[in-house]
Symmetry: C2
Subunit: 242 residues, 2 copies
DNA sequence: TAAGAATTATGCTTTTAAACATGCAAATTT
DNA sequence: AAATTTGCATGTTTAAAAGCATAATTCTTA
C-alpha cells in the first residue's frame, strides 16, 4: 500500500515511483514506525481486470482501498440501468472508506477502468489508527470535505447545464484527473463513449453527437477513443455556460 | 449553543428543550468541563429574519453554526438565477464547517427559511478542540460521510428521476426532516412553490402543476402552503420511480 | 482470416420539461 | 376600500434531450 511496500513487493517502477514520492507522502508521512509496521503486516495487493468490480452498492464496507496502478471509477447504477460516474481515481488515491465511516452499506460501486492494482487495508485497523493519530483524522476530514463540496457542485452542474456544457466539463475533469500524453494534447485516458456519457449525464447517442460537434468546431479531434484537446480555452468557455 | 447555554441565555423552552436532550447530547456529551467552558465563553447567538442569508457562496468560512430554532436551507445558485436546495436543517443541527475543513471558500449559501436563532462558534476553536478530542473528530467524520453519501445519491435521483418522482421524493424529504403537525398528516413546513421547485430541480410552474396533479389523484391535499399527505405509500411508490 | 460481437456514427421521431402568456386570488400597502 | 404586488393556477408553444432505427466501423475470437 505504501512506498516501501510497493517498491519491495510490486514491480511498478518509474512513473509510479514519481507519484509516490509526491502524493503518497501525504499519508505515509503522517505515520510513526509502529503504524507503518501495522500497515505493512495487514495490507494486501489485488489486481483487477478491465471493468472488474472492486466493490458494489449495498455491500458492507470492510476495506480501505488505495489505487496503486491503473484507473478506477466510482459510480452508481440508476434508473433503467443508466450509470452515473461520480468520481475517478488515479494512483495514489484512497477510496471505499466513506460508507464505513457513515456506518452504512455502500451507496455506490467501484470498478477498474483498465487493468489495475489496488491495495487493501482493513477499515478496523484504519479506525484504530485514527483513534491514535490526529493527523490521520484530519486527513480524512479534509478528504471528505473536499469530496462533499465536489458532489454538491456536481448536483447543480449536472442538473442545470446543457449537454454541451456538461460534456465540456467532463473533458476538463479528464484533463485535470489524468492529464495529457507526451504531446501535451492527447487525453491520457481512453474511455468508451458510453462511459463519457455516464460521466456527463447524457445518453451514449448524445455523447457521440456532441463529441462530433466539438470535433467539427475544431475544439477537439477524435480518433477512436483517442481524444486530442485542440482548444482548451474554448472548452472551458463552453463549460462555464454553453 | 449547547444545552446549559441555551437554557440560561435564551428564552426558548418546551419544544427546543425536548430536542436538545435528544440530539444535542450528541456533541455536548462528548466534551469535558474545560471544553464546555471554552464553548460557553466563545459562542454567540444570532437571529435571522425570514429569507435572510447566514453566509454566502464564496465567503470564507469562519464559524461553525448551530441552528437552535427555526429552519435553514443550504442552497446553491445555478444557471439563470435558478437555485438548488442541497440540504435542510432543523434544530439542533450543525452546518457551515465543510468549507473550513476543505480549506476553501463556501461553495453554497445558507439562509433562514423562517425566523431563526442560530449559534456561532469560531472554527479555529472547533479545530483545536478536535485536535484534543477524538470523539469530536469522529463526530465530524461521521457527519461528513453521511452527507457525502446523501449528495452522491442526490446526484443520481435529481438527474435521472422524472418530475413526478422528484417531487414525491422532495415531499418525503420534508416529512423525514420536519415531520407532521399534531394531526399526523399536515407537513410541518410551509414552503413557497418556488422553494419546492428548487428542492426538486424543476421550474416553479412544474412544481405547481405536479402538486395539482398529486392533489387530483388524492395523494395529497393542498391549501395554500399547507400540504397534507393523504397517501404516503403512493408517494413513496412514485418516488421509487413514477 | 473470417465471422460475429461490440462500439461508434448519423438521421429521424417522440417525449419531456422549459419557456411563455394570461388570468385569478390572496396579501400588502396606501 | 382601492390599488398594487406577489404568488398560484393553467393552457399553449418551443426547445432540448431521449429513444429508436440503421449502417458503418472496429474489436474479438473462433
Amino acid at each position: 500500500m505504501f512506498k516501501s511496500i510497493i517498491l519491495k513487493q510490486m514491480n511498478i517502477k518509474s512513473t509510479l515511483e514519481k507519484v509516490i514520492s509526491e502524493d503518497l507522502a501525504e499519508i505515509w508521512s503522517l505515520l510513526n514506525a509502529e503504524e507503518k509496521r501495522l500497515i505493512t503486516d495487514n495490507f494486501e495487493i489485488h489486481t483487477f481486470k478491465k471493468n472488474q468490480i472492486i466493490y458494489a452498492e449495498k455491500d458492507d464496507p470492510v476495506y480501505l482501498w488505495c489505487l496503486l496502478k491503473g484507473k478506477v471509477k466510482l459510480y452508481k447504477d440508476g434508473i433503467g440501468g443508466r450509470q452515473q460516474i461520480l468520481r475517478l481515481y488515479r494512483p495514489i488515491q484512497y477510496f471505499g472508506y466513506r460508507a464505513y465511516f457513515a456506518n452504512e452499506p455502500y451507496v455506490s460501486s467501484a470498478a477498474a477502468f483498465e487493468p489495475s492494482s489496488v491495495g487493501s487495508l482493513p477499515m478496523e485497523l484504519v479506525k484504530s489508527m485514527i483513534d491514535n493519530n490526529r493527523d490521520l483524522a484530519w486527513f480524512f476530514i479534509h478528504e471528505l470535505s473536499k469530496n462533499l463540496g465536489g458532489s454538491d457542485t456536481k448536483i447543480v452542474t449536472l442538473t442545470q447545464k446543457h449537454i454541451r456544457g456538461r460534456l465540456a466539463e467532463a473533458l476538463i475533469l479528464l484533463i485535470d484527473n489524468y492529464g495529457f500524453e507526451d504531446d501535451g494534447k492527447t487525453l491520457k485516458i481512453y474511455m468508451a463513449r458510453e462511459d463519457i456519457a455516464n460521466l456527463s449525464n447524457m445518453t451514449t447517442s448524445n455523447a457521440i453527437r456532441t463529441l462530433s460537434a466539438f470535433a467539427q468546431e475544431r475544439i477537439i479531434t477524435v480518433d477512436g477513443r483517442r481524444i486530442k484537446i485542440v482548444d482548451e480555452e474554448k472548452l472551458r468557455q463552453i463549460s462555464k455556460f454553453g
